[in-house]
Amino acid sequence: MKNDKNIIEVKNLVKHFGGVYAVNDLSLKIPRGEVVSIIGPNGSGKSTLVNLLSGMVEINSGVVILNDAEKLKKIKSYEIQDLSITRTFQEVRLFEQMTVIDNLLVVLTNRSVFGSFFEVHKKYHLEEVERMLQRVGLEAKKNQLAKNLSYGQRKLLEIARALLMKTEIYLFDEPFAGLFHAMIKTVSGIIKDLRKEGKTVILIEHNMDLIRELSDYVFVMDEGSLLAEGEPDSVLKKKSVIEAYLGK
C-alpha cells in the first residue's frame, strides 16, 4: 500500500444472519485516496461488508475505525453522510416516482429541516445538477421519471447521485454490472477522476480486466473472511484466489 494513513480500518468485524456468518472476524485496512477493490465469489460477504460500512445492517461485533481515530461499533445509515461515506447498490435503488433531475436535486437538500420547508432549489443547484447529468450522459433524460430509465441509465443516475454527495469515501457495489461499453467507459472515467481528486473508492466488481485497470489494491474475500490481499496483478495470480473463484 502506498499510503500509511488509513481512511477505514475494520477490526474483527462479524455479521451473522442466524447461524450463517456473512462476515466472519474480518480485519482490513483501506488507505486514503486509493481505489480498493473487494472481490470474491458470490456469497463471500462483499456486499454485506459494504452494507455494514454504510449502516444498512447492524454490526454484531468488531469495530470500524475511520481516519485512524473515530471508533465505531454502530453505524447508522442516516449518519453516513456525516461520516463522509456514500454508496451505490448492487440492485439500483432510486427515487422511482421522481424525475431524473429531482433524484439529484434532492441530494442538495438543505440540512436544516425548517430551511427545506421554505427553500426552493436555487439556480446554482440546478446548474450543478445539469453539469452532473452531462458528466454521466443523462442530460437528455432529465425530465423523465427514474422508473422509466433503462438499467444502465439507472446505474449512471445512482452513481451521479453518489457523486453529488461530495464525500471522501465512495462504496460502489458492482457499478459496471449490466452496462454497455460506452457506459463502462464513463463509470471507469469517474472512478479515475475520484482517485485524482484524492477520494477513496471501495469497489465491488467481478470484471477482472476492470479491477486490474482501476484498482490500487485488492482484497479477496471468501466465506466472510479475508482470503488474500495485495496489488491486483499479484493477487489475481494466487492459486488460492483462482481456486476460490473456479473451485478446486
Binding site: Y78, F95, L105, H121
Partner: protein, 288 residues
C-alpha cells in the same frame, strides 16, 4: 327548486370537507406508508379546540380556528414522536403501525368524550344569521362558501408547496425509499414529523369546517377518516392532487345516486365506489 343544482352544490361542499381529510391523509401516508387511523379523530380534536376557545371562552372566531389547527398539528407531531417514531426505529410493519394508530384513535376519542361530552356541539353562532346565497336555484350559506374557498386554497398551496420546495422533494424521496433517503442525507424523522404537523393541521381545518357545517361529535372522526381514505384511494394513494379530485368524485357519485336509490344508501354507494376502484383501478384516478 331544481334539485340538480342543489345536488351539485351539496356535492361540492361535502367534497371540500372530505378534501381536507383526503389531501392531509395522503401527505402523511406519502411520508410514512401507513394508514393512520387516528387522522379523522385528530381532525375532530382540532374542531373541539376551536370550539373551546370560541364558544367556551368566547375568543375571536378566527383566532380560535387558528389555535384549533395549531393544536391538532402539534398533537399529530407529538403522536409521531412518542408512538410512531419509536415503532419506525424498530422497523415495525405497516400493520403494526396501523394497530398502534387504532389505539391512538380510541384513546383520543375517549378523551374528547370526557372533556366535551358525547353531545353534538356546533361552532356556528345561532345568534348570527348565516347569509344565504342562491345560485341557479340552489342555496349555499356564507360559511359553506368559506369552506369551499379554503379547500381549494389549501389543496393548491399544498400541491405547489410539495412540488417546488426542498421539503416537498424530501417527502417524495422518503415515500419512494426511506432507507436510501437517509443515506443521501435527508433527515427522514424530522421530515416525517413535520408532515404529521402539516397533515394534522390541514385535517383540523376539515374538523372545524364540520363544526360550522353540521356540528361536532366525538365519534365522527372515524366516519370522516373513512371518507377521506376512500377519496384518497379513489384519487390515487400518495397523490395530494389525486386525493383532492377523489373527494369530489366520491361526493358527486354518492349525492347523485339518490336518482336511482334511496338517500339513506348514500354511504353504501360511497363504499361500493371504493370497492370498484380497489378491484378495477387500485392505483386510483391519478396513478403515481
Amino acid at each position: 327548486m331544481n334539485i340538480v343544482p342543489q345536488l351539485i352544490l351539496n356535492s361540492i361542499i361535502a367534497g371540500s370537507i372530505i378534501a381536507f381529510l383526503a389531501v392531509s391523509f395522503n401527505l402523511i401516508y406519502g411520508a410514512t406508508r401507513f394508514f393512520n387511523m387516528a387522522h379523522g379523530t385528530i381532525a375532530i380534536f382540532g374542531g373541539y379546540i376551536a370550539f373551546f376557545f370560541f364558544k367556551t371562552l368566547g375568543w375571536n372566531m378566527y383566532l380560535s380556528a387558528i389555535l384549533g389547527i395549531l393544536a391538532a398539528g402539534l398533537l399529530g407531531y407529538i403522536f409521531d414522536r412518542i408512538i410512531y417514531l419509536p415503532l419506525r426505529k424498530r422497523k415495525a410493519s405497516g400493520m403494526i403501525m396501523l394497530v398502534a394508530s387504532i389505539g391512538v384513535f380510541t384513546a383520543l376519542q375517549s378523551l374528547i368524550q370526557i372533556f366535551f361530552t358525547s353531545e353534538f356541539q356546533t361552532l356556528s353562532d345561532i345568534s348570527v344569521h348565516d347569509r344565504l346565497y342562491t345560485i341557479f336555484g340552489a342555496t349555499i350559506t356564507q360559511t359553506q362558501i368559506y369552506i369551499l374557498i379554503m379547500a381549494f386554497i389549501v389543496a393548491i398551496c399544498l400541491i405547489i408547496f410539495l412540488k417546488y420546495t426542498i421539503f416537498g422533494k424530501a417527502v417524495k424521496a422518503i415515500s419512494d425509499d426511506e432507507e436510501v433517503a437517509k443515506i443521501v442525507g435527508i433527515n427522514t424523522n424530522k421530515i416525517i414529523g413535520l408532515s404529521f404537523f402539516i397533515g394534522s393541521g390541514i385535517a383540523a381545518i376539515g374538523g372545524i369546517a364540520v363544526g360550522f357545517d353540521t356540528g361536532l361529535n366525538p365519534t365522527m372522526g372515524m366516519k370522516l377518516l373513512l371518507h377521506g381514505i376512500s377519496a384518497a384511494i379513489i384519487g390515487g394513494v400518495g397523490s395530494v392532487y389525486g386525493a383532492f379530485i377523489g373527494a369530489f368524485v366520491l361526493t358527486f357519485v354518492a349525492n347523485f345516486s339518490i336518482f336511482w336509490i334511496s338517500g339513506e344508501w348514500q354511504e353504501a354507494v360511497a363504499f361500493v365506489l371504493l370497492i370498484i376502484f380497489l378491484i378495477f383501478r387500485p392505483r386510483g384516478i391519478i396513478k403515481r
